[in-house]
Symmetry: C2
């Protein structure tokens, strides 16, 4: 019943990702995506109602793919000072293995990609956000015995913002972060989480 699809949704996402990695999100046109995949533009619109929806769903797939392994590591983190090492390393690992997706996630704000998130994807986006937020709260509780705004912010800073900061410059320049940066990030994240006299976030 019906012709067999020549391209999968993921084919379109992958092609879009490559174009964005190469030319930047702003310069990524539907015609570019179609050409990258060797498909006509009409096919893109057969799958996706609009450019907006294509980008929104690609963004979602990317967030999901990053979060999946990351949440596992975050939940399994061992006790003590080294508790932050694995999550930080996980970010580096993921970036090395998925440079194009990392570029999408680290170098673009969702807002600049999709002005108004379509309804369907929007719901999933909220879910993903909540899941991550919950994981950080759990981590904060484990680590600091509380999960107020300040504690969660500090955890986010140490486990996400710091590795992102280390990586971003290099991704932007089109390369991967040098090995040494990983060690530095691990060490820095530990310091950010260490208890000391300083007032909390």
């Amino acid at each position: 019943m019906g012709r067999k699809a020549k391209f999968t949704d993921d084919d379109f996402f992958d092609a879009t990702l490559r174009v964005i990695a190469r030319e930047g999100a702003a310069a990524c046109t539907i015609a570019d995506v179609a050409a990258e995949l060797g498909a006509p533009v009409g096919s893109v619109y057969h799958r996706f109602a609009s450019r907006e929806e294509l980008l929104a769903r690609l963004w979602l797939r990317t967030v999901r793919r990053f979060q999946e392994p990351y949440l596992v590591v975050l939940g399994a983190a061992t006790q003590g000072d080294a508790e932050s090492d694995e999550p930080v390393r996980a970010v580096f690992r993921w970036v090395r293995q998925h440079p194009d997706e990392a570029q999408l996630l680290l170098l673009h704000r969702r807002r600049d990609l999709v002005a108004r998130m379509p309804d369907g994807p929007g719901a999933e986006a909220a879910t993903l956000n909540d899941t991550l937020e919950e994981a950080f709260k759990a981590y904060a509780r484990r680590r600091f015995g509380r999960a107020d705004r300040a504690a969660v912010e500090r955890v986010t800073f140490a486990l996400v913002d710091i590795p992102y900061a280390a990586i971003r410059r290099h991704l932007g320049a089109g390369g991967l972060p040098p090995r040494g940066l990983e060690a530095l990030s691990v060490r820095t994240a530990r310091a950010a989480l260490a208890e000391d006299g300083t007032a909390d976030t």
Copy 2:
């Protein structure tokens, strides 16, 4: 000899900045800028050859304005562990005083703003880059006794990337960073610069 100008270049830059802060760079059209200033679109083109040039020069003005006070602080940094405190604080100070410009600088890559930097501005951009690079090298020499790639990278990470990382999330959400983050950043930057057994960047 000739009519007096009604708007200065800076008027246009400021208007552009406000539009970008409000709607994002991608959504910033020439018509928006003109409306924001209460000028007709033609006037924009009387001053700037293209949208590209307008954005390029705004970007430059912004980098220049950030660097000027920052370089002073960087050069005057005191000796010892606290050597990194002032530069980090300077970033926070500047962001609080210039939230719109900070948003431009922290939330957008130059490449996404201007695909191809026009020649004139391009030359100044290179100069600004070199100046900052030199300042970091000098800092690295003072601090580590060397200014190789790894040392400079580490300094950049501690003095720029870390405060940026702390601030970025909040700027994106449309607010300023909470006070506590400044202390955390200062502390974290110190750790990133501290000598220890770990291999360098």
